[in-house]
Every structure is written in structure tokens, then in C-alpha cells.
């Protein structure tokens, strides 16, 4: 079996294994082992991929596997990876691995919880390896649906409302995507003949510009909903606030990246001229996302809300960078997806752990936690510093790459948007330091908190893996950046059709 398919098969085997487990402990270990294997495979895939590239294999996609699945509509099971998807797979496997350990204390319906969680992750893996639009959409839905159950059953607060809201808004996005994908399918062969769903084939044809302009908004907004594009982001604060820890981690860490990846791989890559002509609308929206999310976070009092708005800001940066039509900025966009994915998973993990101890998420009710839980405190500070873009962590690498790339556009419109985007680094510092100051530093406000315990082994493992991820990328970013920009080549080629790429 080829290595990419294994990324879907292993979660399935894990799920089957979990079904036969007898108690909580077995379930957890089965999930941990399954996702551990997945993590090792991701590492292997990255190494293998880099070796292939070094050996001079310059094919656009590696490890391609093509099986006809539904001949009458020409649907294939077509998988393959380039540097970008490999990086995304790495991200997913880190986050899901940490997520399993962060949910170590789920007591209620443990079996069902882990099955849904792993089902979700298999959808995500499938999405990142798919090169067939139909299969891609299928995996996309597979990733979104379990979210409803996970929030509705294991969530907290107004969970039915949040689950419903999140699912409905994402379904709305899916409807738009479906329209866009059908549009692509029916224009995938302008000269007549066999229509195709294959991204690689569609990227070779020239779709008429007016058709592009019609379908581009469907695809960009559809994926943008999941990528927290303003003003379609409001599912995110409520959804995150109600979701259980691992679900928030996976959702903000990985699922929101499906949006960015979709915008990039489908909307912009396949409809470059439309992206070039209509890009300005979305540049305005994403610039708003960046600064608006940051200002929104300053005022919040609930830890999860703060992080949700912060995600709006950081994910806005991803879409912003994609629209800059510049290789460096796009490289930065992918880096930002990975960086934000790990970082935000770290935050949500920590928030879950803190909530598990203090039973509140309101920062004003807490204070001085650094003294009672130094490990979690230091981890939170590290996450915060990474989030505000401190050198040595992944956030800095991603943001600087985006800024330098975006600055290559000389016209005033892009310049202004870029400078507004850049200024978010100050606002980010404000809300991050505010939270750190209120939550962790100062005196202990509530005497009950003095007897709280610090992180347990599984919590240390979970946060440790994520911290390792952000520091490793932050200290030695070159290989990752090179791997990604290797995958950008064909995309830039296609964008050149639409106009100059700065």
C-alpha cells in the first residue's frame, strides 16, 4: 500500500481497535498508539519526501496514486503530495497526537469521543492528500461533521447552540464550495471531451475569465468561512468556547487550515485571473480580519474567546498573504498556517488544563497562577511569546516572511494594507501581555487555587510536543521554508498567467 493511503488507513484501524477496547484506559492507549504511529509516519514522510527531492525528483506531486472510483462522473481516488501538503500533514499529526494526550481525562463516553476525534483527523489527512476535487470535498465534509457531535455531546456551556451555529455556518460554506467545485468540473475541459475533477488537470487548462470571476467568490468565501474570514468568523468564538479541549485544538489548529489550504489550492490556484481581479475585495476583508480580530481580543475576558479572536487575526494573515500574489508571501502563508496551528493548539490545550483545575475561564477570576502551576504558566508564556511573534519561535518566521513578501507589491493599496497588517503586532502584544499579566502574574486572587496541582505527565507530554514544534521551526526554519517554496513553483507559474507576480 502506498504511504499516503496509510494516513487514512491507520486512523480507520485505530477506530476499529477502539471499538474492541474494554475500558477507558485501553481506549486511550489505543488512540495514543494509533496517533503515535501517525506522527512517526509523518516524520518518515517528510524525510522521504526531502530525500526524493534531493535525489532530483522534480515531479509536481510525489507518491501519486490514481484509482478510478466512480467512472461515469470521472471521480478518482487521486492522491499525491508536494512540499505544502507534506508540511500540512506534519502539522496535523503533531496536533492530533498532542490532542489525544490533552483529552486523557475524558470520562464520559470515552470510546465514542476518541472515535469521533480520530474520524475527524482522518478526514483532515484525506483532505490534505487529495488531488481530486470530489474526493477532497468528501474528506472535507468528513472532517466537519464529527465536529457537531463532539461539541454537542462533550462540550460545555451553551453547547447545543454553539454546535448548531458552527455546523450550520460551515455547512453554508460547504454549499458555496460545492457550487464552486461543480463550476470547475463543468469548465474543466473547454475544448469538449472528458470532464475532470483532478486539480492537476484543471490547473493545465485555461478557464474563461468571466466563468472564473463567477465561481471564484463561491470558492473563496466557502473555504474562507472555515478560515475565519471576516464577517463569517462568528462561529469561531462560540464554537471554541463550547468545544472540549482536544476539539478546540484540532479545530483551530488544523480544521481552520483546511479553509486556508482550500482557498490556496483550489480557489487561487485554479482561478488565478479571477483571484487577481477580485483579490482586492478579499484583501480588504482579510486586512480587517487581521486588525479587527486583534482589537476584538483585547476586550475579551474569556480565555477561549481571546484565543478565538486571536485566531481570527492570525488566520486572516494567512488569507491576506495568499492574496498578495507573491511567492514569498505565499510561503509565509503556509508557514503561518503551520505556526498558528501548533501555537493555537498549545493555547487551547493549556486553557483546557487550566479550566480543568480552576473551573473558570474568566481571567478576572484568576490571577497569580504562575506560582501554583509553574509548568503550565511557563508554557502559556511561551505560547504567548510565540503568538506575538518573538524570534526563536515559529510565529516570527511566518510573519516576517509574509511582511517582506507583501511589501514587494509597490502600489499604494497593497502598501497600506500591509502596513495595517504589520501594525497588528503591537495589538497582539497588548492582548497577550494583558492575559499573562492578569492570569499568571500578580497575587493569587482565589485562595482555593493555592492547592492546585501542576501539570501531570500526559499534560506535560502534550504541551511539550507542541512547544518543541514551535521552537524547532523558529530556530531552524530554512528547511521548512525551502520545502514549501519548492511546492510553490507550479502555483506561481499558473499565477503568472493572470499578471505579474511581484
Amino acid at each position: 500500500m502506498d504511504i499516503l493511503t496509510l494516513f487514512i488507513v491507520i486512523p480507520v484501524i485505530t477506530m476499529i481497535g477502539i471499538v474492541f477496547c474494554k475500558d477507558h484506559k485501553q481506549v486511550k492507549w489505543a488512540a495514543a498508539i494509533g496517533m503515535g504511529i501517525q506522527l512517526l509516519m509523518a516524520a518518515y514522510l517528510i524525510i522521504h519526501f526531502l530525500m526524493e527531492r534531493n535525489a532530483g525528483n522534480t515531479a509536481e506531486m510525489l507518491f501519486v496514486k490514481d484509482v478510478v472510483w466512480f467512472p461515469s462522473l470521472n471521480i478518482h481516488y487521486l492522491v499525491g503530495v508536494d512540499g505544502i501538503s507534506v508540511a500540512m500533514i506534519g502539522l496535523t499529526s503533531i496536533v492530533i497526537f498532542a490532542g489525544v494526550f490533552a483529552s486523557w481525562e475524558v470520562e464520559e463516553l470515552t470510546k465514542e469521543f476518541f472515535i469521533s476525534l480520530i474520524l475527524l483527523s482522518s478526514g483532515v489527512f484525506g483532505f490534505f492528500i487529495s488531488l481530486d476535487l470530489f474526493t477532497l470535498f468528501l474528506f472535507y465534509e468528513l472532517a466537519v461533521i464529527p465536529m457537531y457531535l463532539l461539541i454537542g455531546i462533550w462540550g460545555s456551556g451553551p453547547r447545543e447552540y454553539s454546535a448548531m451555529k458552527l455546523t450550520l455556518m460551515l455547512m453554508g460554506g460547504s454549499a458555496l464550495i460545492m457550487v464552486g467545485l461543480l463550476g470547475l468540473y463543468f469548465h474543466s475541459n473547454p475544448s469538449g471531451g472528458q470532464l475532470t475533477w483532478s486539480i492537476l488537470d484543471i490547473s493545465k487548462v485555461h478557464i474563461p475569465v468571466d466563468v472564473q470571476k463567477f465561481f471564484f467568490p463561491f470558492l473563496f468565501v466557502g473555504f474562507g468561512v472555515l478560515g475565519a474570514l471576516f464577517p463569517f468568523h462568528t462561529w469561531s468564538p462560540d464554537g471554541h468556547a463550547s468545544a472540549p479541549t482536544a476539539v478546540s485544538m484540532l479545530h483551530a489548529g488544523v480544521l481552520m487550515k483546511l479553509g486556508g489550504y482550500g482557498c490556496f489550492r483550489v480557489a487561487v490556484f485554479l482561478l488565478p485571473e479571477a483571484a487577481h481581479e477580485l483579490g482586492w475585495i478579499f484583501i480588504i476583508l482579510t486586512t480587517i480580519s487581521v486588525i479587527y480580530g486583534a482589537f476584538g481580543a483585547v476586550w475579551q475576558k474569556d480565555l477561549k474567546y481571546i484565543n478565538a479572536y486571536s485566531s481570527v487575526s492570525h488566520c486572516g494573515m494567512v488569507l491576506f498573504a495568499i492574496l498578495m500574489f507573491n511567492k514569498t508571501a505565499m510561503d509565509g502563508a503556509i508557514l503561518q498556517m503551520i505556526s498558528h496551528g501548533i501555537m493555537t493548539a498549545l493555547f487551547f490545550a493549556l486553557i483546557g488544563m487550566i479550566y480543568g483545575r480552576t473551573h473558570t475561564r474568566y481571567i478576572n477570576e484568576m490571577g497569580g497562577l504562575m506560582k501554583v502551576m509553574p509548568f503550565l504558566g511557563v508554557a502559556y508564556v511561551i505560547g504567548g511569546l510565540a503568538s506575538l511573534g518573538l524570534p526563536g519561535f515559529s510565529g516570527f518566521v511566518a510573519e516576517m516572511t509574509i511582511f517582506v513578501g507583501a511589501f514587494q507589491n509597490v502600489d499604494t493599496f497593497h502598501r497600506v494594507a500591509t502596513i495595517i497588517g504589520v501594525s497588528s503586532i503591537v495589538v497582539t502584544a497588548v492582548y497577550i501581555l494583558r492575559v499573562i499579566g492578569i492570569l499568571l502574574l500578580g497575587k493569587i486572587k482565589n485562595e482555593h487555587y493555592e492547592h492546585l496541582t501542576d501539570a501531570k505527565w500526559h499534560e506535560r507530554l502534550s504541551t511539550g510536543v507542541l512547544i518543541f514544534g514551535i521552537t524547532a521551526i523558529g530556530l531552524a526554519p530554512l528547511w521548512l521554508s525551502e520545502m514549501i517554496s519548492g511546492g510553490l513553483g507550479p502555483i506561481i507559474q499558473r499565477l503568472l498567467l493572470a499578471g505579474p507576480v511581484h
Binding site: K165, L168, M169, F230, P231, H233, T234, W235, D238, Y292, F295, G296, V298, W299, Q300, K327, T328, G368, M370, K371, L385, L388, G389, L390, P391, G392, F396, V397, M400, T401, F403, V404, G405, F407, Q408, T418, I419, V422, S423, I425, V426, A429, V430, L433, R434, G437, L440, L441, G442, K443, P477, L478, S481, E482, S485
Partner: protein, 638 residues
Amino acid sequence: MFTYTVWIVLIPFFLFILIGFFGHKFKPLVSGVVGTSGLFASMALSYYTAYQYFFVVGKTGDVFGKIIGYNTVWLKLTEKLHIDLGVLLDPISVMMLIVITTVSFMVHLYSIGYMQGEKGYMRFFSMLSLFSFSMLGLVVATNIFQMYIFWELVGVSSYLLIGFYYTRDTAVAASKKAFIVTRFADLGFLIGILLLSFNTGTFDFLTLTDPNGVAITQGSGIMFLGLSTMTWSMIFIFMGGAGKSAMFPLHIWLPDAMEGPTPVSALIHAATMVVAGVYLVARMFPIFHFSAPVALDVVMCVGAFSSIFAAVIACTQYDIKRVLAYSTMSQIGLMMFALGVSGYGAEEGLGFMASMFHLFTHAFFKALLFLAAGAIIHAVHSNYMNDMGGLRKHLPITHITFLIACLSIAGIPPLAGFFSKDEILAAGHEKSMMLFILGLIISALTAFYMFRLYFSIFWGKQQQYHHTPHEAPKVMTIPLILLALGAVFAGFIPFSSFVTSDGKPFASHIDFAVAIPAVLVGVLGALTAMMFYMKETNIPETISRSLGGFYRAAFRKFYIDEIYLFITKKILFNYVSRPVAWFDRHIVDGSMNGISYVTNEVSTRIKGMQSGQLQQYAWIFVSGAIGLALAFIYLWTL
């Protein structure tokens, strides 16, 4: 041959990792000793490097060249732009290596005693190492982006150290303020870097600062709002420097930063980090001079104004660390001012040389002042000079070293401060008489507030202390003595033979037309202070009362903090952030909820249609049919 210099930077980094991760496994003292000896190694390497650079390699032709000791690509951004990490050696970076490692070593040594028994002893030492690493990385940067990277790291280590006593609310607030204000300044720095690199196509200092290089010869770029692109980018870059160096109006974080432990104030907020802005301007000096003279004028004005502004405030403060903080700001202002009036090329660059010289001597006497202040605070458990007095008998070593530092900073010959300040005044004198007089006023004020401090602490009214104050242990007094030696003798270094704007040495001499007035005003300031504060008198009272509003304004630091608070708390929080949060919940989210509400309503309304009642169906059927028929008839007859 200079590859080993990378270890000067890396040793503190490994110390940080080592102490940070494994420090708690051992006794606290181990972290202190390991940290200090590590810094000693770094210092020894720096001295060796300086020896090699100035005396073994020496001049090529008649200039000290720029040598790349080590360089590696860290991140490739575009074809032309790539971020490197490396070591650049030239006169100013070598000088900075000496300053940083020396002061850092002294502070490490001193802290072994000062921090004894504190909780978080090993955290303190690991943070100090982190700071030393970042600061060293900053000064040896081979390109402007490396500088920015370490610039941010320096900022965060300062944040962590100011907030060292993290259970104290004032410390937490001060650390936050320091980080955010400097971060705001760094935004300018970043925009400046983006503009500059876009314009010149490089981050590399060698290319950027070569007077015959493409970056300078290509001209200043297109005009925007009356200034050239190069000018804009240099002004933005200077904004970063002004933030770090606490120049007006970005200085508000520095006095509050005194909440940190005193050794931290000595190292970061007096001798090293706060001069990073001066170093930045010096590093970019050829661009300032050739491509953006307007920006250089901005540097001069900001420096001069900050200097006098801070000097006035320093005369009114009672917290000894805050007096020193404003004094630091004032001295850095002088350094900026000197750069601002400087030209380029050997003798022309007198201001440049003077600025670097003052940076060098200032590091010694200001670190000494802070460390001595630490010993005093240690002894009397108060920061306020009102709680002190007559301490000269109790703390003899501290007293003598403090006096030396005061004499040095007041510019009394033959101490170090005299020589460097004299050069600054001479540079100002060359530019214009006005600037020279301004410099004299600042000198007089400097002497006055320093001796006000000195006399109030060591003379003045004899206080009743709870415990008899006693001299600090040897591990603290030895650094004081060593730094005092520096404060006395550092001025005898023929600085202009080593550090000049273009690397070409020249012979500087003392101009008596400048030196005599300078010394006179210094002595005058000191004598006035002696008159006011040596014995308890009511003269200061009377004067401050007669100054009325001006005194109150100076005492309240000219209300700059209040203005900032108004802008951030009142305007940004209340009128931006809060409405954004409200808008998001009620308008954006409201419309989403609105859609669902409408859907719900519509379905509730129309679900009555499927009631299952035959009569209703029949009625709807008949009225529908009639309605349609009427519509068709109407359309036909049209």
C-alpha cells in the same frame, strides 16, 4: 581567523539553556557561579578578540576594516533578501563586545551576593544569560534583520527581568509597559527595514553602509510627502532606536522599568540595552549621513530635547533609581545628539567618535552608580532618598565608589566622563554656539542632580535606621571597585585612534575653549548641590515653591504618562476595542443569528400550511385556482 567569536555569543545561550532547564536540580548558588564563570569566558574571548582585531590584524591601509567572522543563511525570503546570522567585527562592534561582556560579568558577580536568598535565584541567572546572549547577538549582527531578531529578544529578556518579582503588581505593570512601548517603536523599526530593504535590495550591513556601495550611490528614492523614501525609512528605523533608548516621547517605560532588581537596571537599563538605539544609529551612520540627512537632524533634535528634558525631571525626583533612570535618558540623549551633529570621515566624524566614547565611559560609571545604589537599597531597604542620609560612615566602599562615579558623570577631570563629554561638547561647538550652550546647561544640570543624590544619601540629615546599615559583602563590593577603576581610567584610552566613523583613526585633542567652561559649569552644579543638600537646609523647598507650576510639572514628569494613559486606556480601549467587541457580538453575529431567526420564523409560519385538514386544503385549492384564473384573464386582456 575570527570564527571563534561566535562563541562569545553562544556561551551565554548555552548558559541560558543549562541554567533554565537544569538549574533547579542543584543548589541555587551553582547557577550563580556557573553563570558568572560562563560570562567570564565570554569576556575573556571578547578581550582576546579586541586584541586580535586592533593589534594583530590592525589596519588595512589606514583604516580598520570590517571583518565577517562567521555567517550563515538562516532564512531565504526572496532571491535577493535573505536573513543571515553571523558575526561582524568592526571598531564599534568590538567595542560593544567589551562593554557588554564586562558589565555583564560584573553584574553577574554582584548578583551572586545581591540576589542571595531570593526566590527564583536560578531563574534570574538564566534570564541574565538570555539577555547577554541577545545583546551580544545584536551588536555583532551582520545584517539589519539579524539586528531586529536580537532586538526583539533583548526586549523580551528585559520584559522578563523587569517583571522578575512577578507577584508584585507594579512590577508586572512596568514590565508590560516596557514591552508594549518598545514594541510600538519596533513596529516603526520593522516598517523602516521593509522600506529600506525594498529600496536597496539587501539587508546586509556591508552593502548598506559602504559609502561607495549601491545602497548609498543609488540616491534617496522617490519623494513621499516631501521626504525621500530613504529619509522615511531611516526615520522609521530611528523610531525603533528611540524606543529602545528611551528617547522622548517613547521614554515612559524606562523610569518604571526600575521595578526590576537593581542589577538588572544596571545591566539592561543603564549600560547596554538602552544604548542599543545609539548603536543602531551608529551602525547605519553612513546611510543617515549620505542618503538621509534630514533623518540625522531628527536624531539630533530628539537627542538634544530628550537630554535636557530628562535632566530637568531628574532634579525633582526622590526615588534614587528613578533619578538614575532619568540621568541615563539624559546621557543617551547626549550620545544621540553627538551622532546627530557628526559628519563622516576621520576628523569630520568627531561627533560619532564622541558618541561612542561617551557610550563606552557611560557604561562604566552608570553601571557603577546603579550597583552602588543597589548596595545602598540593600542596606536601608528603601529607594527613597528621604529615608537616607549620613550613610558615608556605614558604607565606606560604596560611598567612595559612588563619589567617583558622580565626579565622572559630572565631567570633572581627569575622570573618564570628562574626556568623553568634552568631545561631545566640542562636536556641538563645531556645529553651532547654541548647541554648545545647550550642552553646557545639560552638564550643569547633570552635575547638580548627581550631587543632589550624593549629598542626600551620604551626607545630609542623619537618619534613624531600624537596623544599622552595613557594607555589602565582598562579592558585591569587588565589582564596584573594578567598575570604579573603569570610571576613573577609561578616559585615558585614545579613543579616536580606534573608533571612528569610517574606521580611519585621527588624533583628538582637548580644546580648552570647550573644556574650561565645561568643567566650570560641572563644578558649579556640584557646588550648588553641596550648598543645598550637604547640611539640611530649606533652600530646595523655597526654590521649588517659587518655581510653582513648573516644578510640579517636572515632578509629575510633565504629564507624559497621563497623556499615554489617556490615549490607550480611554481612546484605544474604550473607543476602539470595546466597540469592535460589541460590533462583533451584536452586528456581525447578530446578523448570523438574525438569519437563523428568520429561517425559524418562516418555517414556523408556513408549517401551518401542512395542517392535514381537508377543508383547508380545499379552500386553498379553490382560492388558488380562482386567483390564477383571474391573473391569466388579466394578463390576456392586457
